[in-house]
C-alpha cells in the first residue's frame, strides 16, 4: 500500500501541474498539525431546480450538466477534461483503478442515482481513464441494483460488482476499539475512490453522507453502530486505506430523506436537486448536516440535537485524534451555484 508521504507527493505533483483551487486548499489542509493557518476547505453545492422535470427520475442530461457546473465551480476550470484532471492525480488517470462507491442500502427509492454514476464515469473516461479501470462498487448485488446498476465483471465498459463478489480481507484491522475486515475492492483494486453517497437522515448517526458511506467497505458494519456511530464513522475513515484512497466526494442530494432514514420513507422524501462536492469529507458532511437541519426546521421537525442524534461523529472526525478535515464553518469555503 502507498504510504501517506507517497500519496501527498503524488497529490502535490498533480496539484502543481494543474493548479486546481480545490486541490490547493486540500493540500494546505493535509499539511497536518504543523500547519499554523490551514487554508479553507472548499465545498460546492450545485443546484438545478428543474432537474426532475415532470418525472420521478432526474433528467440524465441535466444531471450531467449539473455535475459539470459543480466541477467548474470547484476547480475553476470551464473545460471538463481539465476540471477532472485537476482532482484526479495524473498517475491514477494513466492506468490505475478508480472506484465509484455508490449507496443503495436504502433501496430503490433513496439510492445514488444511476444518472449521476454514469455521468461521473463518462467524465472520467473523457479525462483519460480507461473504462475498465473504473469500478462501480457497493456492498452487494441488491444494493447495486437499487442504484440501477447491473453487475459487470467483464472488460467491456466500467466494471460493476459488490463486496459479495470480491470479498473482504482475511486479516482484520483495528478500527477504534473494534476490529473489522475491509473490502478487497478498496484495499487491492482501487488506487483512489470517488465517494458517491446519497444524503439521508439516519436513525443513529443523525445524517449519512460522505463518511458514513464507507460502512459499505466493512464486513460487519453493525460493529460500528454503537453510540450513534460515534466514533465509529471517524475511526473507520481514519484507517489509512480509507483516508488515503477516498479523496473526493460527489454527494448525491438530488433527492433526500430529512427524517426517518436511512431506510426509504417516501413520506419524508425531499428534492434538494443538488450535488455537494469536495475533497474534505468532514466539511462535506458538515455542509450536508446543515442542509438537513434547514429542511427539518422548514418541515416543522425537531432538530437532530433535539431528536437525540446530533451527528457528533463529524466533530470527532475533525478532532486531533482523527484529523480528517474541518467542521469549523469559518474554515469552510462554501460555494453555492
Amino acid at each position: 500500500m502507498k504510504s501517506r508521504r507517497e500519496f501527498l507527493k503524488e497529490a502535490a505533483a498533480g496539484a502543481m501541474l494543474l493548479g486546481s483551487p480545490g486541490a490547493r486548499e486540500k493540500l494546505a489542509f493535509a499539511g497536518g498539525p504543523e500547519q499554523h493557518t490551514p487554508a479553507k476547505s472548499k465545498v460546492v453545492i450545485a443546484r438545478d431546480a428543474s432537474l426532475h422535470g415532470a418525472g420521478t427520475q432526474p433528467d440524465e442530461q441535466r444531471v450531467l450538466n449539473l455535475l459539470d457546473k459543480a466541477m467548474t465551480a470547484y476547480t475553476g476550470r470551464e473545460k471538463q477534461v481539465e476540471a477532472w484532471k485537476s482532482v484526479i492525480p495524473a498517475s491514477v488517470l494513466a492506468g490505475k483503478t478508480i472506484g465509484l462507491k455508490i449507496n443503495g442500502l436504502g433501496g430503490r427509492g433513496i439510492s445514488t442515482h444511476t444518472a449521476l454514476t454514469l455521468a461521473v464515469a463518462e467524465r472520467l473516461q473523457q479525462a483519460g481513464m480507461r473504462a475498465a479501470n473504473i469500478v462501480v462498487w457497493e456492498r452487494d448485488a441488491r444494493s447495486l441494483n437499487a442504484c440501477g446498476m447491473a453487475a459487470n465483471a467483464g472488460s467491456n465498459g466500467p466494471r460493476c460488482y459488490g463486496n459479495d463478489v470480491s470479498g473482504y480481507e482475511d486479516e482484520q484491522v483495528q478500527c477504534g476499539a473494534t476490529r473489522i475486515r475491509l473490502a478487497k475492492i478498496l484495499t487491492r483494486e482501487c488506487a483512489m475512490v470517488i465517494n458517491l453517497p446519497v444524503l439521508k437522515d439516519h436513525s443513529l448517526s443523525g445524517i449519512t453522507f460522505s463518511m458514513k458511506n464507507m460502512y459499505g467497505a466493512v464486513d460487519r458494519a453493525y460493529l460500528l453502530h454503537e453510540n450513534n456511530c460515534n466514533p465509529g464513522i471517524a475511526d473507520l475513515n481514519a484507517i489509512p486505506a480509507v483516508r488515503d484512497k477516498v479523496r473526493f466526494t460527489i454527494g448525491d442530494a438530488i433527492s433526500s430523506l430529512y427524517e426517518g432514514g436511512p431506510d426509504f420513507r417516501p413520506e419524508r422524501l425531499w428534492y434538494p436537486n443538488a450535488l455537494v462536492i469536495g475533497e474534505d469529507c468532514v466539511a462535506v458532511d458538515y455542509t450536508a448536516w446543515q442542509m438537513i437541519e434547514r429542511k427539518r426546521a422548514e418541515a416543522g421537525v425537531p432538530s437532530l440535537e433535539a431528536a437525540g442524534r446530533r451527528p457528533d461523529y463529524i466533530a470527532t472526525a475533525a478532532d486531533a485524534a482523527h484529523r480528517l478535515g474541518t467542521c469549523d464553518p469559518a474554515r469552510i469555503r462554501l460555494v453555492e451555484v
Binding site: 420521478t56 442500502l105 436504502g106 436513525s203 443513529l204 427524517e259 432514514g261 436511512p262 417516501p266 413520506e267
Partner: protein, 150 residues
C-alpha cells in the same frame, strides 16, 4: 379514517408464508424471491435502522418485491417481533404528521406511498416507489391480504 375493502379473493388465511404469491391480490405480482433475515443479520438489510428493531425484540424479517399492473413497484417487509409490544413500539415510533389511520390488523397507518400495520407480534411495512392516483388503494389491498395470512 380510510375505509378498507374486504380481503381480496384468493387470499387465504393462516398460511405459513405471510407474503402473498402472484395473483393472490388482483393486479399484484410477487417479483422477487422472499428474503429472510435473522435478527443478527438485519443490519445487512436496513443498516442502522436495525437497531430500533433489535431493541424492540425482532426475531426475523421477511421481505419481497412486488409489482402492480406494471405501473407500480413496491416492497413488503414483515417483521416478526418477540411479542405484540415490540410491534406496537415500532409502529408508534414511526408515526408522523400526515399519517392516516387504517383498520388493518390491530392498528395501522397509511401515507400516499406506504402502509404500516401491526397484528400480534407482526409489524408489516409496505412501501411503493411511485405515487400514482391509485397507489394508496392498491397498497391497502395488498396490506389486507398480508394481514389475512398472518
Amino acid at each position: 379514517m380510510i375505509a378498507v375493502l374486504a380481503a381480496s379473493p384468493g387470499c387465504k388465511k393462516k398460511a405459513v408464508e405471510p407474503l402473498p404469491p402472484s395473483g393472490a391480490v388482483a393486479g399484484w405480482e410477487k417479483s422477487s424471491d422472499t428474503r429472510v433475515y435473522a435478527a443478527k443479520d438485519l443490519w445487512q438489510y436496513i443498516d442502522g435502522d436495525a437497531e430500533q428493531y433489535l431493541a424492540a425484540g425482532v426475531v426475523s424479517t421477511s421481505t419481497s418485491d412486488y409489482k402492480y399492473r406494471n405501473q407500480l413497484e413496491a416492497v413488503v417487509d414483515v417483521y416478526t417481533m418477540g411479542d405484540s409490544a415490540g410491534a406496537r413500539k415500532i409502529l408508534e415510533s414511526g408515526a408522523s404528521n400526515g399519517a392516516k389511520k387504517v383498520q388493518i390488523g390491530d392498528a395501522g397507518v397509511a401515507y400516499e406511498q406506504s402502509v404500516t400495520f401491526r397484528k400480534g407480534p407482526y409489524l408489516v411495512r409496505i412501501v411503493a416507489y411511485e405515487a400514482t392516483p391509485g397507489t394508496q388503494q392498491a397498497l391497502l389491498n395488498l396490506a389486507q391480504c398480508v394481514e389475512a395470512r398472518l
